[in-house]
Symmetry: C2
Amino acid sequence: MAGKVLPRAVWCLLLVLVSCHAYKYKTYFMTQRVDHFSFANDDTFLQRFLISDEHWDKNGGPIFFYAGNEGDITLFAENTGFMWDIAPEFKAMVVFGEHRYYGISEPYGNRSLTVPKYSGYLTSEQALEDYVALISYLRFVIEGAQTSPVIVFGGSYGGMLAAWFRIKYPHIVQGAIAASAPVRQFTDFTPLINTVTANDEGLAWLSKTWKLCKPLKSKADVKTLKDYLMDVWTNLAMVDYPYPANFLAPLPAYPVKVVCSHLTDSSLDGKDLLEELFAGLTVYFNYTGESKCLDADQQADARLDDQGWDFQSCTEMVMPFCYDGVKDFFEPAPWDFQDYSANCQKTWGVIPRTYMVPLMYGGWSFKAASNIVFSNGLLDPWSTGGVLWNVSQSVVAVIIPEGAHHLDLRSANPADPPSVVEARRLEKAHITKWIQEFKQLKE
Amino acid sequence: MAGKVLPRAVWCLLLVLVSCHAYKYKTYFMTQRVDHFSFANDDTFLQRFLISDEHWDKNGGPIFFYAGNEGDITLFAENTGFMWDIAPEFKAMVVFGEHRYYGISEPYGNRSLTVPKYSGYLTSEQALEDYVALISYLRFVIEGAQTSPVIVFGGSYGGMLAAWFRIKYPHIVQGAIAASAPVRQFTDFTPLINTVTANDEGLAWLSKTWKLCKPLKSKADVKTLKDYLMDVWTNLAMVDYPYPANFLAPLPAYPVKVVCSHLTDSSLDGKDLLEELFAGLTVYFNYTGESKCLDADQQADARLDDQGWDFQSCTEMVMPFCYDGVKDFFEPAPWDFQDYSANCQKTWGVIPRTYMVPLMYGGWSFKAASNIVFSNGLLDPWSTGGVLWNVSQSVVAVIIPEGAHHLDLRSANPADPPSVVEARRLEKAHITKWIQEFKQLKE
C-alpha cells in the first residue's frame, strides 16, 4: 500500500524530474467571444492553448484535450503526465486549453475580476463553449484532424468540465476521463487556536513560534491563519501522492504520514500541541527549506488562481459546506446561505445562483449520458462528492482506494500503488473503445 | 388518401370548431432572467405560460410541455390538439411556455427588438433555459408534481427546441416529440411578374387585377409582392391539411389542390396566367370572403412574429437557402452569405454566427441522444431538412407521407389520413415507454 522507503537522494532526484517541466509543447492563442450565448456583447479575447503533435498520427489520430480549470494551464500540462504517457501508443495530439479568466486568458486584462460587467462571463458554460470553438477550429485548420476523435481529460473542477463537456456536446467529444470530479463539501478547524490567541500575549507567542511572516494583530488575522490551516489540511489530503511531487506545494511522498508523524503523542495539549503542529506544518510550507517564514496569505501555487475560483464559488459553483466537529475535526459551522450570499454581493457584486449547476448539468442524474469515466481516489477528501458507482455500461466509476486527488492523471511512477495502475489500464481500455466506436460510425 | 368530399356546411362547422378556442387553460407569468449564462446582466422579465390541470393525476401524473416557438403562445395552444386529445388518457397536466421575445413575453417591452443591447438575448439557448427554470419551478411549487415525468412537444422551430431540450437537458425532460423540425431550406419565384411590371402600365395593371391594397410603385414594391408570394406557396404546402383549418390563414381542406385547380391550363401565358394565379391566390388570402384587398405586407397570422424570427435568422438560425429554378419553381438565387450578413448588420446590428447551431446542438449527429421522436410529413417543404431515418432505438423517425407541416400535432380529425393516425399511435407508445422508464428509475 505505502511506497517503499527510498534513500533521500533518490526522492530528490525524482522530485527534480517531476518538477522540471519535462514536457514539450507549443503555445498558441485563439480569439474567443466573451459571450457565446447572446448577441448583446461583441467583445473578444485571446485564449491560450498548448499543443504537442510529437506523437500524432497526422491521418486522423485522436486529440487528447485537457479541459483547463482554475489556474495557469502550464501547471496542468506539467501535472497531467497520464496524457503525455499514453499519447505515443495512441498516436495522439495533446492539447491543453486554458480556462478563461485564469493564467493569461483574461478577457478584460486586469479589470477582468473587478465588476460583473467584466467578471460576469466567468462561467463553466462559457468556458465549455471556448473549448467547443477551440476544438472545432483545430479540426478545421489542422490537416488530418478533420475526422480526429477527441477525448477530453480533466481533474477536480477540470474533471467536472470534462464530464459536462461530454454530456452537453457528445457530437464534439467522443469520451471523457473525469478524475476526482466532486460536486460538494469543504472544511474548518479546532478551537485550540482561538483559546491561545484570546489575548495579546498569545497572539505574539503564536506569531513567533509559528514563524509567521505577518504577526497576528487581530481576530481577522487569526481567521486568516485558520483559513490557511484549513486549506493546508485539505490540500495535504488532496496531494497525498506516493512519491515526492510539486503540485500544490513541494512535498515528500505520502505527506499526510510525514505531517502526522509529528502528531503521534495524544497526551500533548495547549502550546505543546501547537508547537508540534508547527513541526508538521513545516513539511507543507517549507519542505524545500527555502521559506524564511510562514505566509498565511499565500496560496498553494501562484498559478492556481484563488480569486477566480472565489468568484465562481459566488456565482454558479455554490457548494454547501458544513462542519460539525464530530464527523470532521473542524469547528462546527452550519451552512448559512444568507451570509454566504451577502458576502458574495459585498465582494463581487453578484448573487449566487444555487441551482444553476444541477439544473444545467444534471447533478446526479447521468442516466442519459454516455462515455464517461469518473475516477476517484479514496484518500482524497473530494471523493465524497464524486460519482462512486457505475451509472451505466458507458458511464462508469473507477475507484482508487490508495489514491489522492486525481493521482491517476499523473505520470506513471515506480511508487504507484497497484490500484492506480489498474485505474489507468481501465481508462485506456475505455478510450480505445470510444475511438473504435467513433471510427466505425464514420465508416 | 385524399379526404372524402363533405358538404360545404360540414366543412364550415368543422372550421368553426377548430378555430373557436375550444381548449381551456389558465394564464400565468413567471419572472425569468434575461441572461441565464452570465452574471453581467441582472435584468428580469415576465414569461407567459398556460396551464390546464383538468385531467392531471395530482399524484405524480406526467407534464406535457409545449416548447413555444416564434409566436403568441395561444396560437400554438389552439393548434396543438394532439396534446389536448391525449392528456386525459395519460392524466397529464398540459403546459404551454411562451418563447421569449414573442407574444407578450417581451424582455424589454417595445424596445425588445431595437438594438443588440436589448435584442441580443433572443436565442434558442436562453429560451431553453427559460423552459428549464419554468419546469423546475412548476415541479417545486405544484404539490404532486415533484416526481412528474415531463414530455416536451414542439412543431417546426418548436420541434427543434423540443429535440434540443431533450439533448441538452435529459435530466429535466424525459422525452421529446419533435414534429416537422427542419434544419435548412427556403424558396423564390418566377420571372413573369418581373416582365409584366417592367413598366408603369404593367405595375398599374397588376395592382388593379390583383386587388392590391397598396398599388405597386417601384421595384421594391414588386420585391415585397414576390416575397409575399414565396411565403404563400411555402405556407400553402406547410398547411396542406386534409380538413379546413386556420393555422397560418383560414383555408379549405387540401388547399394546395384548391389553389392548383385554377392553374390546370398549361397553355396560359402572360397576363392570362397572372389572372388565373390571382384566382388561386384568393383561396389563400380571402377564403373567408372578408378581405377587401390583397395586403402583401401582411404576415400569415399576426400572432406569428416575423420580426423576431428575422432577428433569429440573422443571429443563430442561419439556414443557407438557394434556388436554381430547375429543381424548384423559383427565381435562381445562389446562397450569398456576405450579402446576407451585410443585411443583418444593417437591419439588426448583428453578425450571424453560421456554426452556432450545429456546434451547440450537434446538427445531424444525434447518436448520443435518446428518447426523441422526429416526425415529418412529406407534403411539407420543410421535411427535406428533417431527420427521416432512425438514429437509434430511442431516437426514431416517423414519416407521414400524406402529412403537411406537423399535422400529427393537430387534433384528431375524421379526414385524417391513416398515416397520421399511425404516427400518433407510435408517438403515444414512445411517450408511454419514456414515462415507464422514468418511474422505474425513481423506484
